[in-house]
């Protein structure tokens, strides 16, 4: 590519970013209490280990790639399924009962006998991928977040949700090593999002505060990929616009707040294995500090082993995966720095397990 064309394309991208950032600023909503990575993120090892860098790196371990443009690079059809679960998985049964409207006092006692903030996440997903097309179905994704304050009369902010998600990815080549992709995602949620005191929960008529609600959402999420396959480090530039969609019922905890990812990745040649380094800049309505968008990530694969990790302004993560024949297993550790309720520094640490198979 000539320098003139490169400059033109960079200028075009800058204009697009400015316009979209301005539009996203106008769509800004109140920040949800639960972390965005829990409510709107993906539940798999690579997404947790790499964070937003999964939009720049195609590490191949997910049901479908974060950036739909990557599906254009799929070489052969394959089917995969995975089970993913994080901390506090023991709450799964209690959370499910609450969402089914069958929660009793014992369930609530167990859930509310916790430390100040608790999270839980689990996901079951199957996917089929082939060149330029992919489909994934998650019949069961469960998430839970609770935050308790005021020991004198505990007040609880509770978010519990069960989702079914169907995703389609379409991709194609646009010439000059450009690829485009589009993800169409439909989500059906049953959720409880409420703030109440513990005596409200234990009074006889608590249906108003613990009554499940439904939300249906459809998202259109485009992505692009620009490769330089002849460069020594096989540089690539990526962009994705995620969470761009519409819902039938607004809910502060599940906003239609688009998130723009711009990134770059390189694959420096190494003597053994394959190393990828990536950078992602993520812009959303929650971006408030200049350092918020940045995240660096890396993935190294050798034989049956893959390690990956990433670091951002306020969090870091590390993941380890093993592949044996068609089976995969992984362990991911994430750590997020927050200013807690009373203004003290606190690290929220989570460990995730994932098992899957590829055919």
């Amino acid at each position: 590519m000539s320098l003139k064309n490169l400059c033109r394309e960079v200028l075009l991208m800058s204009i697009v970013v400015t316009i979209i950032s301005g539009l996203m600023a106008s769509l800004a909503h109140a920040a949800p209490s639960a972390p965005r990575s829990l409510t709107l993120g993906l539940s798999d090892s690579d997404d947790k280990a790499l964070g937003g860098v999964c939009h720049s790196l195609d590490v191949g371990g997910q049901a479908l790639p974060c950036n739909p443009a990557f599906i254009a690079r799929e070489t052969k059809p394959n089917f995969r399924a995975q089970l993913f679960a994080g901390n506090n998985i023991s709450y799964m049964q209690d959370v499910s009962k609450l969402l089914d409207g069958e929660g009793d006092r014992e369930n609530m006692q167990r859930l509310f006998s916790q430390t100040r903030a608790s999270e839980m996440e689990a996901n079951l997903e199957g996917a089929y991928r082939r060149p330029t097309f992919g489909v994934a179905f998650s019949p069961y994704r469960l998430m839970y977040y609770s935050f308790i304050r005021n020991r004198s009369l505990p007040v609880i902010t509770l978010l519990a949700a069960q989702e079914q998600t169907l995703r389609f990815q379409f991709a194609g080549y646009a010439g000059d090593d450009w690829s485009w992709g589009l993800q169409v995602r439909g989500v059906r949620r049953t959720f409880i999002a409420s703030t109440f005191s513990i005596t409200d929960a234990f009074s006889e008529d608590h249906d108003d505060i613990l009554g499940p609600r439904q939300q249906s959402a459809v998202y259109l999420e485009p992505g692009f990929l620009k490769e330089y396959p002849d460069s020594p480090w096989r540089t690539q530039f990526t962009g994705t616009l995620s969470q761009l969609g519409a819902v039938d019922r607004k809910a502060d905890d599940f906003p239609t707040s688009p998130e723009l990812h711009l990134g770059s990745a390189v694959r420096p040649p190494v003597s053994l294995g394959e190393l990828e380094l990536g950078l992602d800049l993520a812009f959303s309505s929650q971006t408030s500090h200049w350092s918020d968008p940045f995240r660096l990530g890396a993935s190294y694969e050798i034989g049956v082993t893959k390690v990956s990790g990433s670091a951002g302004a306020s969090e870091h993560a590390f993941g380890f995966q093993l592949r044996y024949w068609d089976m995969t297993g992984g362990l991911t550790y994430t750590s997020r720095w927050i200013k807690n309720w009373i203004g003290e520094d606190e690290w929220v640490r989570t460990v995730y397990l994932q098992f899957g198979f590829n055919i």
Partner: protein
């Protein structure tokens, strides 16, 4: 190429995503949340001052809940240690016919059996009714013996917390008021037993099967029944108001709870009557 329809669709979704009702007040702008932060930092007096001002302007029941919890925190009552009791609370079965009890009540019941053989001793009926009142209160007390005892100026904070919640009709708020009322009831009951121990010590010195009637009358009528009449009547009144709060939160338990309170009130009135006619 399908670029133009794709751009149109993307634009449509951008617009649809922006067409939304205004979000509710964000959590960090709610003054009640700021008060909760003060409480969790231990600044109960600061939270009380903030919430007393807010209550005059903001009619939300959450404000009253927060203010009551601030007073309760200053009194040292933290519900997170006791809410299991409320969730499993059962009213005691009160019987006017048989005195059952432990400790002080059991020992006084044994003295009563001695007095039964001496109907000529005045004051024995009043004592019998008093022991029945104490036995019924002990049955309530066994249900709440895990609650804390609040003493001194802290009890005023507890009472103020209950006053703050009195106007509210929200079930959760009335349940909280009931719990605070039970803590107050437990604390007052604890005070009464201390005085009762002195009475017991006096009564146990006598062998009532052999006591001279004049001396027995003098001892029994020296017992300050009036003081205990007022004390037990006040306790049963607080108990009644507290149980009414519980029935707001648990309407299905209304009959069971009110029956237990009615029995306690009837025993208390019988004691009042016996106390008035005894030792004239």
């Amino acid at each position: 190429m399908a670029l133009k329809p794709l751009i149109f669709l993307l634009s449509l979704f951008l617009v649809l995503g922006g067409c939304s009702p205004k979000p509710e007040t964000p959590v960090d702008k709610d003054p009640v949340e700021n008060a909760y932060r003060r409480l969790d930092r231990g600044d109960t007096s600061g939270a009380i001052a903030q919430l007393e001002t807010l209550m005059r302007e903001d009619p939300r029941p959450e404000v009253r809940d927060a203010l009551a919890s601030a007073y309760a925190a200053r009194a040292g009552v933290f519900i997170d240690s006791y809410w299991g009791l409320i969730s499993s609370f059962r009213a005691p079965v009160i019987s006017n016919d048989q005195i059952r009890g432990t400790g002080v009540v059991a020992r006084l019941a044994r003295i009563l059996t001695q007095l039964e053989s001496r109907p000529e001793l005045a004051g024995s009926q009043g004592l019998a009714q008093l022991v029945k009142v104490m036995a019924s209160l002990e049955l309530w007390q066994r249900r709440i013996d895990t609650l804390p005892v609040v003493e001194g100026p802290a009890r005023q904070d507890l009472f103020r917390a209950m006053q703050v919640l009195e106007p509210t009709r929200k079930q959760g708020s009335r349940l909280y008021r009931a719990l605070l009322g039970l803590v107050w009831f437990r604390s007052e009951l604890q005070d009464g037993y201390h005085g009762w121990g002195r009475i017991e010590a006096t009564l146990q010195k006598q062998d009532w099967r052999k006591t001279d009637p004049a001396q027995g009358r003098r001892i029994l009528c020296d017992i300050n029944f009036q003081q205990f009449t007022e004390w037990s009547a006040r306790l049963v009144s607080v108990l009644g108001a507290t149980i009414e709060d519980v029935t707001v939160a648990y309407p299905s338990k209304r009959d069971e709870l009110r029956q237990a309170v009615r029995e306690s009130e009837r025993i208390s009135r019988q004691f009042e009557n016996a106390g008035r006619t005894t030792c004239r």
